[in-house]
Structures are given as structure tokens and as C-alpha cells.
């Protein structure tokens, strides 16, 4: 029994990271219909940057995170403006290719600036809590908590603010949004900025809880897309539920079925859900 609880706890932390990655992906997808494949690599860039600031510039951790998040926002804006905007009216597959190209570029940049060795963002959180046999490292607890806070903040932003309203309108019908007076040139910039900033926080979490190394970002973005599929493309609650479900599924699969095939099992669950509900767990039928 303890083992099951332990596995669920294990899965929730990684699930929190998935949720943040997926949130960024899902907002971008919802608004612009772009499968932003470079998201993982850009997130890792943010993680690397934090590491660099902390480890070799001596910036305090939270200062470094703040700088990285702001840089991430700016980077997102630049990416939207320079890379995706020119293909806005083209076939979506073209945007996907741009995304692939960006992925290579960012991976290349990461490699060039930060090297091939894995880096771990140093933190001072090294305590471990033990609750009735279930252990939780302090750091994991922080990750889960901050993921929850960010999700809540995003939800409030989208549901309660005018910018959030505009984002939803743009996601659903671009022309109509223009006719309502939504500035469709700046909203995508904001969306990309926020999405990338969220990605950077995920990158920081991965970098402190686990590690950043070449290829990890790409693996993460695939998981992010799996979450989207599981939860429903463009669906906000879907990203949250999908992320947690995927994290726990992986954990249980590795613990109780097979660690070699844990990703296979996660994908099979995703495909099975899709067969029953083609629009994903929280997706709406069109």
C-alpha cells in the first residue's frame, strides 16, 4: 500500500513539470494552432541560463530565476515575431517545420554556450520528509507547490483579465476577435512570452530536481504533447489533468509493470484514451 502512495507521490512531481510544459504548449496551440516543438529546448535554455547565473556568476537562486523568466518572456516574443509570424497564413505544417528548425537552433545554441555535460542547478533544499513511510524530498514539494501556484495564476489570468479574454477570443475566431477590437498583433506576442516564461520555470524545475543535458528538452516536449493529446488540444484543464495523469501513469507503470516499457505504457494509455474519446479527456466535441 505504501508503495502505491509512494509511486503516486513520485508521479505527481514529474507530473507538475509536465503540466507546466503542457500549459505553455496548449496556450500557443490554442491561439495560433502551432505545435511549438521548440518549446522543450527553449525551456532548457532557461534552465541553463539559471544554472549559469547561479553557478558561475554567483547570482542568488531566486534572482537568477527571475532573470531567466524575464529572458524567457523576451525570447518567446522574439520567436513569435521572427519565426512564426511570417508563416502565420501558410499551411500549419510549415509552422511545424519552422518549429523543428527552431528546435535544432536552440539545441545548437544550448550546446554551444553551455556544453554537453549535464548540469544541475544547485539548491540548498536537501531535507527529506517522511510521512508514514512515504518520503518526499523538500525540493519535490517545492516543485509541486510552485506548479500549483503557477497553474492557479494562469487560470485567473485567462478567466478574469481582459487580456485573457482576448486570448480566448483569438483562439476561437481570429476575424471575429479583430472585429471586437482585439489587437491580434500583440496578443500572440504576449502569449508566446507567457508560454515561454512558463516553460522556463519548468526548465528550472527540471534543472534543479533532475538535470539539464542535450536532448532532455526534446524528450520533454514529446511528453508535453502527449499530455495535450491526453487532455485535449488547446484545453486548459486538460493540460493540468493530462499532466498529472501522465506523471502518475509513468510512475505506476515503471513500479508495477516494467521500467523498460514505462514510456510505451504511457503512450498506450494515451492512445487508448484517444480511441475512446478522440477529443481527449477534457476536449470539447467540435
Amino acid at each position: 500500500m505504501i508503495e502505491i502512495f509512494q509511486q503516486i507521490v513520485n508521479g505527481v512531481a514529474i507530473g507538475g513539470v509536465y503540466v507546466l510544459i503542457a500549459l505553455g504548449l496548449t496556450t500557443v496551440f490554442g491561439i495560433l494552432g502551432i505545435a511549438h516543438f521548440a518549446h522543450g529546448s527553449v525551456s532548457m535554455f532557461g534552465g541553463y541560463l539559471t544554472y549559469f547565473l547561479v553557478a558561475s556568476q554567483g547570482v542568488p537562486l531566486f534572482g537568477a530565476i527571475a532573470i531567466a523568466v524575464i529572458t524567457g518572456f523576451a525570447l518567446g516574443v522574439v520567436i513569435e515575431f521572427l519565426a512564426y509570424r511570417p508563416v502565420r497564413n501558410a499551411n500549419h505544417i510549415n509552422a511545424f517545420i519552422v518549429a523543428l528548425g527552431l528546435t535544432m537552433m536552440v539545441e545548437g545554441i544550448n550546446l554551444q554556450f553551455f556544453g554537453a555535460e549535464q548540469v544541475v542547478i544547485p539548491t540548498s533544499a536537501s531535507r527529506v520528509f517522511n510521512i508514514g513511510g512515504v518520503t518526499i524530498p523538500e525540493l519535490r514539494l517545492y516543485v509541486i507547490l510552485s506548479a500549483a501556484i503557477l497553474v492557479a495564476a494562469m487560470a485567473i489570468f485567462v478567466e478574469r483579465t481582459k487580456a485573457g479574454q482576448a486570448i480566448r477570443a483569438l483562439a476561437e475566431n481570429r476575424d471575429a476577435a479583430i472585429l471586437m477590437g482585439v489587437n491580434v498583433n500583440t496578443i500572440p506576442l504576449i502569449v508566446f512570452g507567457i508560454s515561454t516564461a512558463l516553460g522556463v520555470t519548468a526548465g528550472v524545475m527540471v534543472g534543479s530536481l533532475f538535470a539539464i543535458a542535450p536532448g532532455i528538452g526534446e524528450g520533454l516536449v514529446v511528453k508535453g504533447f502527449a499530455v495535450l493529446i491526453l487532455g485535449g488540444l488547446g484545453s486548459f484543464p486538460g493540460a493540468i489533468i493530462g499532466g498529472v495523469v501522465l506523471g502518475i501513469t509513468e510512475s505506476l507503470a515503471a513500479g508495477f509493470i516494467s521500467s523498460a516499457y514505462k514510456d510505451v505504457i504511457a503512450f498506450v494509455v494515451m492512445i487508448a484514451v484517444l480511441l475512446v474519446r478522440p477529443q481527449g479527456l477534457m476536449g470539447k466535441t467540435s
Partner: protein, 233 residues
């Protein structure tokens, strides 16, 4: 109030509006009629900034709005109720109506919302339903209501009666009449030429991207060619 001069619109290499002049004066209701594909919607889209004008100028309220961004034009006081309704499919009826007031900064929105629901009782019945699942007619009413929520100076309707039941068509006619009564300036495109010409103070006839006839509503109604081709039977 609205002054269009020498407007040309093209999609890629194909030009569909070939330099038209068009005026709408304050408080006036102007109709555009004409066959399918004549370029009426394209003209409206160019006015609203949804597509770029290739040539010509558009002035509104003394201000040059040619090729301005769409949102700026909305803030200048033009809203359009577009062809094909264009509701926000996943938002419910109330949220759609609220979106209509997006560019507004005053706080009379709640009472306007009530007013729209009174004007279209069916919208009150469907208040919580996703707009995408409404029937065509229900969507059209929603789109009109949404446009009015912006309290525009100039209200543009692109084929508001398309696909509506006769009873509702009559209601839409009345609604536009009422909007007119509110002192709003109206630019109306209608396939239902009879209704359009009855409502309009002045009208233009489009043919293949050009304006071929202009006059008061009555003049055009009694024009033999118009009567034959557009008023029917």
C-alpha cells in the same frame, strides 16, 4: 461620416473590387446590393481592416483609417456583424455578448447585456449554451447583439438575414430599423434586396467589383433592371 474613394481590393493577383467610391453620412442607412461575388463583403472587410486595400482611401469621422489595424478601426467606432456570423464557438452566449464590449471602457455593459437579451429572448434561453451549437438563426441574432454591444458609431451588417426564418427575417428588419432609430449610422449588405432597399435611405448596386448604380432606396426599387434581377418574380 464614412468616405471611400477609389478603393481597390485583391486576393493575391486577382482584383475583386475595382476602384469604388462610397459615402455614408451620419445617421444614414446605406445599403449595398448586388449579385454573389460582386465584391460587397470584400469592400466591407477592407473598411474594417480585415484585409488590406490595394489602393484608394477610407476616411471615417474625418480620420484616415485606410489599412489601419482592425482593432484601431473598432476603437474609432466601426463594428461589423460579419457574413457567416463568426461567433466564438466555444464561448457561451453571454461571454460572446461580453466580447462585443471588449473595446469599451465604460461600465454600462451589464445593462446593455440585459437589453440585448430583451431584444432577442431566444438568447436569454440559450444564455449558457456554447455558441457553436446554436442553430444558424440563433447565431445570427447573437452576432447582431454582439455587434451592438460595442455601441458603435457606424454599424455594418453583412447579410444579416442569410438563412433566417421568414418571421425572424422580419424581426431582423425591425431590429435594424430599431438600431436606425437609435440614431446609429448603418451600412447594410443584403441579398434580400427588397428588405434592404426598404430600410435604406440610399443604396448602391454592385456588379463585378464596380458600383453601377446609386440612388435612394425608392429609386433603386423602381429601377427596372434592379427590379428584374434582384427583386425577383
Amino acid at each position: 461620416m464614412l468616405e471611400v474613394r477609389g478603393l481597390r481590393v485583391s486576393y493575391g493577383p486577382i482584383e475583386v473590387v475595382h476602384g469604388i467610391d462610397l459615402d455614408v453620412k451620419e445617421g444614414e442607412c446605406v445599403a449595398l446590393i448586388g449579385a454573389n461575388g460582386a465584391g460587397k463583403s470584400s469592400t466591407l472587410k477592407a473598411i474594417c481592416g480585415l484585409i488590406k486595400a490595394r489602393d484608394g482611401s477610407i476616411r471615417f469621422d474625418g480620420q484616415d483609417i485606410t489599412n489601419q489595424a482592425g482593432h484601431a478601426i473598432v476603437r474609432a467606432g466601426i463594428t461589423m456583424c460579419p457574413e457567416g456570423r463568426q461567433v466564438f464557438p466555444q464561448m457561451n452566449v453571454v461571454k460572446n455578448l461580453r466580447m462585443g464590449a471588449y473595446a469599451r471602457t465604460d461600465d454600462a455593459q451589464a445593462s446593455d447585456l440585459e437589453e440585448m437579451m430583451d431584444m432577442f429572448p431566444i438568447l436569454r434561453q440559450r444564455a449558457g449554451q456554447a455558441a457553436g451549437t446554436l442553430s444558424g438563426g440563433e447565431q445570427e441574432m447573437l452576432a447582431i447583439g454582439r455587434a451592438l454591444m460595442a455601441r458603435p458609431k457606424l454599424c455594418i451588417f453583412d447579410e444579416p438575414s442569410l438563412g433566417l426564418a421568414p418571421k425572424i427575417v422580419a424581426e431582423v428588419g425591425e431590429t435594424i430599423e430599431r438600431v436606425k432609430g437609435m440614431g446609429k449610422t448603418i451600412l447594410l449588405v443584403e441579398q434580400n434586396s427588397l428588405m434592404a432597399l426598404r430600410l435604406a435611405d440610399r443604396a448602391y448596386l454592385f456588379e463585378a467589383g464596380e458600383i453601377v448604380l446609386e440612388g435612394t432606396g425608392e429609386e433603386l426599387q423602381s429601377h427596372p433592371e434592379v427590379a428584374k434581377a434582384y427583386l425577383g418574380h
